[in-house]
């Protein structure tokens, strides 16, 4: 028996409401819209939450590129040997695509950590969503949608500043908005899965930042090429989504030369990380909400 026929059967026994009537959307086909658009409703909710810190978002979206591009591209560049593995391009051109990818990762680490843990624990809105027709997987999807949109906006602003500083020689550079966002998702989805699993706050996120995210940023060929590090440190770059994202972005930003298989590997690695984290987050959330 289909859902609709069962529902039709039971609705005939429904008592007449005294005042008001059930909204037509629900009376006709309960849960059709939530089943289809549930994740978007969750994203909508997240955007409402973000409004509370709009100013911070704007300030960092504009301040970061301005500060970093100026300090590194104009300031530090005078001290850095432009030939240092960066090939023919200026230091600014070399560092800008990596900074862009790094900006997306920063958004990801902000949005996939505390807001996720909060939703389970201190401000347990996920339980409320789940008591409404929203499924656990839609909660995860909705958060990812909202963070992706925030990353795209952040990287677009960043990209505009890069253009302003003259840091993007290639017309393909526009694609770095996508590669940076992919980097953020690759790095962020696993962080989200981890955040979903945290039951007691013992400062895990601070540890994560200090001992994983920061070292990865420093040793991922962001500020200098990975090749300039001793060979025994290269593995940090290879496993770091940021290294893959930075290299990928450089390919599009100024046509950095690398074998095509390596470019494909960058994309593949980031996609695999993202899908892995995403599915894990869905699984953990479903288990945690179904008490």
């Amino acid at each position: 028996m289909s859902a609709s026929s069962q529902l039709g059967g039971s609705s005939s026994r429904r008592p007449e409401p005294v005042e008001g009537s059930r909204p037509a959307e629900l009376a006709e086909a309960p849960a059709t819209k939530p089943l289809r658009y549930g994740a978007w409703y969750v994203a909508e909710h997240r955007f409402r939450n973000m409004r509370a810190y709009t100013q911070t978002i704007l300030a960092t979206s504009i301040g970061n590129p301005l500060l970093y591009l100026y300090a590194l591209g104009v300031g530090l560049a005078t001290l850095v040997d432009p030939g240092l593995g960066a090939g023919e391009v200026s230091y600014l051109t070399f560092v800008a695509p990596a900074l862009l990818a790094s900006a997306a990762v920063t958004v990801a680490t902000e949005e996939f950590t505390y807001p996720v843990m909060l939703g389970f624990k201190w401000n347990p809105v996920f339980f409320g969503m789940n008591a409404a027709p929203i499924a656990p997987r839609q909660i995860v999807d909705g958060i990812i949608i909202s963070v992706t949109i925030r990353m795209v906006v952040t990287t677009i602003i960043y990209y505009l500043f890069m253009l302003l500083f003259g840091a993007v020689p290639s017309a393909m550079g526009i694609l770095t908005i996508l590669t940076a966002t992919l980097t953020g998702l690759g790095a962020g989805a696993l962080i989200m899965a981890y955040a979903c699993s945290i039951r007691e706050d013992k400062g895990q996120f601070a540890m994560l930042m200090r001992f994983i995210v920061l070292p990865m940023t420093l040793f991922s060929g962001t500020f200098f090429p990975l090749e300039s590090l001793p060979i025994y440190l290269h593995w940090i770059g290879w496993i770091s989504p940021l290294w893959h994202g930075a290299e990928l972005s450089r390919v599009f930003a100024y046509g950095m030369e690398e074998p095509i298989w390596l470019t494909v590997t960058h994309i593949g690695y980031l996609v695999v990380l993202f899908v892995w984290g995403w599915l894990a987050a869905r699984r953990i959330t479903a288990r945690r909400l179904n008490k």
Binding site: A3, Q6, L7, G9, S10, R13, R14, P15, E16, P17, V18, E19, G20, S21, R22, P23, E25, L26, P30, A31, T32, K33, P34, L35, Y37, G38, Y41, E44, H45, R48, N49, A52, N123, P124, V125, F127, G128, M129, N130, A131, A132, P133, I134, A135, L289, N290, K291
Partner: protein, 304 residues
């Protein structure tokens, strides 16, 4: 509206709900009465289609929650034991955001949110922060939120636990109005006065099982006497006095702080005690309540 048959929820070896069967009819106000840890909340989560049962069968609005979770939940209103309002949003925003989860358009939600704020007596708090509300106000907001989709069944898990008496009465009044409007209510409580006020019919639950079922009045009639005489001799003397009281009334219940004497006529029993030369420090004659039913059925008080 709801049919549960031999419903079971096990966590590893522990059965939180251990074979519960009940039915709820349209427009009925149905209660689960029991102490903390009796399995009431677990039952409510299964009925709310968010917790998967481990045994038995369950139909809500004619649907199996294992297969039609979202379809069922779109027709329920849920007031959980712990408020899960979004404390980062304002009062009215909480209603709007929640309504969106049912796929309801803003054009419906805006006037509906105002109407519900009126109902919850929170109109002047529409723009307040959730954090700034009192416990009773938060509870009323949670109830208002649960009504945003005009649910066919409203589930309330311990709606007034932790509230002061005045806040409880305001809440009861609101729930009573819903009941009058024909909303089907299912609620859990460990307050017998709440169960008596709000429930047409209830089950008494303990350790995951049903101890008794019926209307508050029939349960009292069946499992208790008409009146209860409570006497106190001081904590050190209650047990000794109880020995002398043997045979008085239909039944005796010795609690640490007082002795309960079940009888059709409490005053007569009190006179009887005085004739025996016993002089309780305090005495009180009252009607039997669900608390007495629970004590009789389980040997324990509801709030321990």
């Amino acid at each position: 509206m709801i049919t549960a048959d031999n419903l079971v929820k096990k966590y590893k070896d522990f059965a939180a709900v251990d074979g519960i069967s009940f039915e709820v009819a349209p427009g009925e106000s149905f209660g689960l009465l029991g102490p903390n840890g009796a399995g009431k909340s677990t039952t409510m989560r299964m009925v709310g289609a968010v917790s998967t049962r481990t045994g038995g069968s369950l139909q809500i609005l004619g649907l199996d929650p294992n297969e039609y979770g979202p379809e069922i939940r779109s027709q329920l209103g849920v007031v959980p034991q712990q408020d899960n309002l979004d404390t980062e949003l304002r009062v009215r925003e909480n209603l709007l955001v929640y309504g969106r989860y049912f796929g309801l358009p803003h054009s419906y939600l805006r006037p509906k949110a105002d109407e519900l704020l009126e109902f919850a007596q929170l109109s002047d708090k529409a723009k307040a922060r959730v954090e700034d509300l009192s416990g009773g106000m938060k509870r009323r907001l949670t109830i208002a939120r649960a009504l945003i989709n005009e649910p066919r069944i409203l589930l309330l898990d311990e709606p007034t636990t932790g509230l002061d008496p005045q806040a409880r009465h305001i809440l009861w009044d609101r729930l009573f109005r819903l009941k009058e409007q024909g909303t089907t209510l299912v609620l859990t409580t460990h307050y017998m006065d709440e169960a008596e006020q709000l429930c047409d019919r209830l089950i008494v639950v303990d350790k995951g099982r049903i101890m008794a079922e019926g209307t508050p009045a029939s349960l009292i009639r069946e499992h208790s006497s008409r009146e209860v005489l409570e006497v106190r001799f001081g904590s050190d003397h209650n047990a000794r006095a109880a020995e002398q009281l043997a045979g008085i009334g239909d039944r005796l219940e010795v609690l640490p702080d007082r002795i309960l004497i079940y009888s059709a006529n409490g005053e007569a029993e009190l006179a009887h005690i005085t004739e025996l030369g016993l002089h309780p420090i305090t005495s009180l004659v009252r009607r039997s309540s669900l608390e007495d039913v629970f004590l009789r059925l389980t040997g324990r008080t509801l709030i321990e």
